[in-house]
Each structure stands twice: as structure tokens, then as C-alpha cells.
């Protein structure tokens, strides 16, 4: 059986399961396929086990009574469920947001608005010469990114192997595992402030002196040798630069020197799917208010929580207690929380309502969008009736 891995935004399509053994998966993927039956969520209301319909009924009751509800998460579910969640938010006049508002949403938005040239990972594999990982450590976050799509594979126009036909650049605040790989035909730039490196690129292109001028000059010369170069930007870039517009301008300016494409690197399996789904509907990728008909930083789920602007949250497939700063997630205790999740996540353990769902891509078929925008169809190993689509439909009917 050949499966697609829903573990991260690489959506690897060569996972083979044979005689109970999992082949080709990275260490994360192996755990996802090998342990998907563990720590499963149970239907709960106020800490007591109930049946699924009762939990859905309570969720409907909370959402009906809420004056300012929000829907949050959705980055690990399929596009078909994301569309339903957007419809539900519209029906409730609610806020809707995902993890991308504090992850790479701004960069995905720039790509969708065509402010930066982009490409597919397959294009990268076949063509890319200079490959920059900026604030990204795929060794841990996207373990097969480099071996399947970027640095290591021999591509149609890059047949001679990575040490001759690729030029690797790693930008990080520390010598990450990926930075250690930057040896021959490669460069590791250890930054303290990413803005200084952006500034150095601008100055070097204008022939001026700058902090990283020497390194940047070498990289620019390498870029000029090729008709295809790529920058993968990760969370380190997002949090290393206060103003991401600087980075967007840099990519534009680099294209005056040589063709340079940008692809976001990081995030959950279908975060880009959420961004594209909401973008198609509203023109914005995240932090959207149907009541206001617009997107705003103050509509980010984290801001709504911090500023106590919401009284109920439907949290789908994400675990804010695990991933959000404590100052923010502690505010969950002040509102009604409904968690839809296949796992008994940390947030599920303290939620008012828990609705157990199916694991997308393993127990629910559907579409996800890879980090480069390619849509991938996932076929479940075994379909589970109570999945995100079923739950969201039931809630919609109940309302």
C-alpha cells in the first residue's frame, strides 16, 4: 500500500506499508503511521465521558449562546473540512484563524498575491542551483525536504550530484544540523540579526560595503551562474525579521541579478491549504472576522484571546496549550472551549467539550496543499465515519 504522509508540509507520496512495516517514512512519519491508534480522544463534556452526539450537541449549544465565537486551527485537516469551517464561521459571524498568523502566513500571502516569484518543489529538484535555507532547519522540521526535493536529488538539469550541481546556503542564529551540512560548494551564515543580512544583500547589490558583504558577494556570484535559485524561508526568518516586507523587497531585488524563487518551509501538513481556502473566499489568508468583513492583526486568535475579545472557541486539530505562549493559552480558561481532535491533546484535557475525530490522511481521505502550493489527494487506510467533515456538518445542522 502506497500512502501520502500527513506529518508535515512535504506530504511525501512514497510511504509504503507492507506486512505491517512502514518504508520510506522519516522518523516523524513512521510515528504517525505506526502509532495512530494511540492516545485517542474520547468524547467529553465538562470532563465527563459522553457519546459523540452529546458532545456535538453541547458544542452547538455553546456556539449558539456565544456572542463572539472564534474558529481556530484547521492546519492538519483536509481542504474539504477547511471549507466547511469557513462556511461555519460565516454562518456564526465569527472570527476564523489558524497557526499561520504567528507562523508563515504573511509569506504565503505574499506568494499568493504574486509579490514574490515562486516555484514547485519538483521545479527545485530539477533546476535549482543556489538553495538557501533561511531560518529553517529541515533536518528536524521537514526531514525529507532536502533528500526528496532540494539539495541531494539529481535533477533533470542538475545531474551531477549535490557537491557539484548545487550550492547550499544556510542562514541561522546557531549551527543547526542543516548548517553542519554546508561544507563543499556551500556557505553557512550565522546571523544575530537577520535584518543585517537583508541589508547586506541590498548594499552588496548596490556595490556598497556591508557587514556580510563578502559572503553575500560570493552568493550573488553563484546565483548569476544559474537560471534557477531558491530561498526556503522558515520560522527563524519570520521571527528574525521584524518587517517581512523587507524580505519580500529583497527577493524582488535579487531577481534583478538572477532568477530567485521563494518557497515557504515549515508548518503543518495543510496550513497552506487553509491559507488558500480562506484566500479564495475572502482575499485574506488568516485572522479574518466575518462580522467585520476584513482581516486584521487584532483578529488573530492569539490577540483575541489575550485581549479577551472572544467567549467561545472551536479548536480543530491543534493544541494551543502545547504550542502557544503561556500568557496566551492561559486565557483559554476564561472562555468556553470545544476541541475537535483525533488525539487527547493537552488542550483537549482541559476543554469544556472534546469531540474525537479521525486522523486526516490516515482515517479520512481528502485534499491537502503542499508547502509549494501543489494539491495532493490523500487516501485513507481506513475511513472513520466521525471525522472533521462529519463533525463540522453536524454542528452546522445543529445551528
Amino acid at each position: 500500500m502506497i500512502m501520502i504522509c500527513p506529518g508535515c508540509s512535504c506530504l511525501c507520496d512514497d510511504i509504503t506499508i507492507k506486512d505491517g512495516k512502514i518504508f520510506n517514512a522519516c522518523r516523524r512519519g513512521e510515528e504517525i503511521f505506526g502509532r495512530y491508534k494511540e492516545n485517542r480522544a474520547r468524547a467529553m463534556v465538562d470532563g465527563k465521558e459522553v457519546d459523540v452526539d452529546a458532545a456535538i450537541g453541547k458544542a452547538v449549544e455553546i456556539l449558539k449562546e456565544a456572542k463572539n465565537p472564534a474558529i481556530y486551527g484547521l492546519d492538519t485537516t483536509v481542504v474539504e473540512a477547511q471549507k466547511l469551517a469557513v462556511e461555519l464561521a460565516e454562518k456564526l459571524n465569527a472570527y476564523i484563524d489558524d497557526n499561520s498568523s504567528f507562523c508563515l502566513g504573511e509569506l504565503v500571502e505574499a506568494v499568493l498575491k504574486k509579490e514574490m516569484p515562486t516555484a514547485t518543489l519538483d521545479d527545485v529538484r530539477d533546476n535549482a542551483y543556489v538553495i538557501i535555507y533561511w531560518g529553517s532547519n529541515p533536518f528536524h522540521s521537514l526531514p525529507r525536504h532536502m533528500s526528496r526535493y532540494s539539495y541531494y536529488p539529481r535533477g533533470a538539469k542538475r545531474p551531477r550530484g549535490y557537491d557539484e550541481d548545487r550550492y547550499l546556503v544556510v542562514v541561522d542564529v546557531r549551527k543547526s544540523e542543516t548548517a553542519v551540512l554546508a561544507k563543499k560548494n556551500a556557505k553557512f551564515i550565522q546571523v544575530d540579526d537577520d535584518a543585517e543580512l537583508v541589508d547586506s544583500f541590498f548594499k552588496a547589490m548596490d556595490g556598497k560595503a556591508a557587514k556580510y558583504a563578502q559572503d553575500v558577494g560570493i552568493i550573488l556570484n553563484e546565483m548569476k551562474k544559474a537560471d534557477f535559485n531558491v530561498i526556503f524561508g522558515g520560522l527563524g526568518l519570520k521571527y528574525g525579521l521584524k518587517d517581512l516586507k523587507m524580505f519580500v523587497e529583497l527577493v524582488k531585488k535579487l531577481n534583478e541579478v538572477a532568477p530567485v524563487y521563494f518557497i515557504p518551509a515549515g508548518f503543518h501538513a495543510n496550513m497552506r491549504g487553509f491559507n488558500e481556502t480562506l484566500f479564495e473566499k475572502t482575499g485574506y489568508v488568516n485572522k479574518y472576522s466575518f462580522r467585520d468583513g476584513s482581516s486584521d492583526d487584532s483578529f488573530a486568535f492569539t490577540e483575541l484571546l489575550m485581549n479577551e475579545k472572544i467567549d467561545a472557541a472551536l479548536i480543530v486539530g491543534t493544541d494551543p496549550i502545547y504550542s502557544l505562549p503561556h500568557d496566551v493559552s492561559a486565557k483559554l480558561g476564561k472562555i468556553k472551549t470545544i476541541v475537535v481532535d483525533p488525539r487527547m491533546s493537552f488542550t483537549a484535557r482541559v476543554a469544556d467539550v472534546v469531540i474525537p475525530s479521525a486522523i486526516s490522511g490516515i482515517e479520512m481521505s481528502g485534499t491537502m496543499v503542499r508547502s509549494d502550493g501543489v494539491r495532493i489527494k490523500l487516501e485513507a487506510i481506513e475511513e472513520r465515519e466521525v471525522n472533521d467533515i462529519h463533525i463540522l456538518k453536524k454542528i452546522m445542522e445543529g445551528l
Binding site: 502509532r35 542564529v173 546557531r174 544540523e177 502545547y322 505562549p325 500568557d327 487527547m344 493537552f346 484535557r349
Partner: protein
């Protein structure tokens, strides 16, 4: 008793994914900090020590491991509930913390969950 027990040092902390420890089932999380070997040496921390990490007025106890991939003047806390407990959005993925060798066991994740229930 080691002299380092009384030594509180400031550390650069990077929060990063660490796939070797990620539990995809969300059933548990290992309380660990990866310190740069040079930083650990000058701070008197040995591999396996329990260290108290304090930032933004909150404290957790983590087991110290060593990694050359950590920032030279500090360590990596894997993305997850312990890092989230310490951080805020001002320094979501990179912040300063105070570190000292501590007695006892690393913080049990249940203690953090309890703080939400209360």
C-alpha cells in the same frame, strides 16, 4: 555539593523543532534542554543534570543534554509545552533565560496542565 549549584547564568535560548523527541501522539513530552557544550562547561552544568530555567517570571526544571547545534551561549528547548510555558510573543522562538543547576526531578508536564485546570 557543587559550586555550580549556586551559579545562575544568563543563557540564549532558541526554541526549535527537535524531531528525535517529538511524540506525534501528543501523549507525553520530554523535559529537556540541549545546552552547547562550551556553555555547559563554563556554567558548571554536566550532561544529565537537572537545571532550573527561568524566563518571563516562570520556571521549569529540565534535564540537561549537550548539543553542538545549540547557540554557543545557551541552549535549545524543543518546540512544545515547556518552551511555550516559558516564552511570550516578544521572544517566541528566541529569548534570554536564567539557568542554574537544581535539585530534584525535571518538571512533570502534569504540573503545567494543572495550572490550566486551576
Amino acid at each position: 555539593m557543587r559550586f555550580s549549584k549556586f551559579l545562575k547564568v544568563e543563557a540564549d535560548i532558541v526554541v526549535a523543532r527537535y524531531s528525535l523527541l517529538m511524540v506525534e501522539t501528543k501523549s507525553s513530552v520530554e523535559p529537556v534542554i540541549f545546552l552547547h557544550p562550551e556553555f555547559a562547561k563554563k556554567s558548571g552544568v554536566k550532561e544529565g543534570d537537572v537545571v532550573e530555567v527561568e524566563a518571563n517570571g516562570r520556571t521549569v526544571k529540565l534535564k540537561a543534554k549537550l548539543s553542538e547545534n545549540a547557540p554557543e551561549n545557551g541552549g535549545i528547548i524543543p518546540n512544545g509545552i515547556f518552551a511555550s510555558y516559558l516564552t511570550n510573543f516578544e521572544g517566541f522562538k528566541r529569548f534570554k533565560a536564567n539557568i542554574e543547576v537544581a535539585e530534584g526531578e525535571p518538571t512533570d508536564v502534569e504540573e503545567i496542565i494543572k495550572s490550566f485546570k486551576s
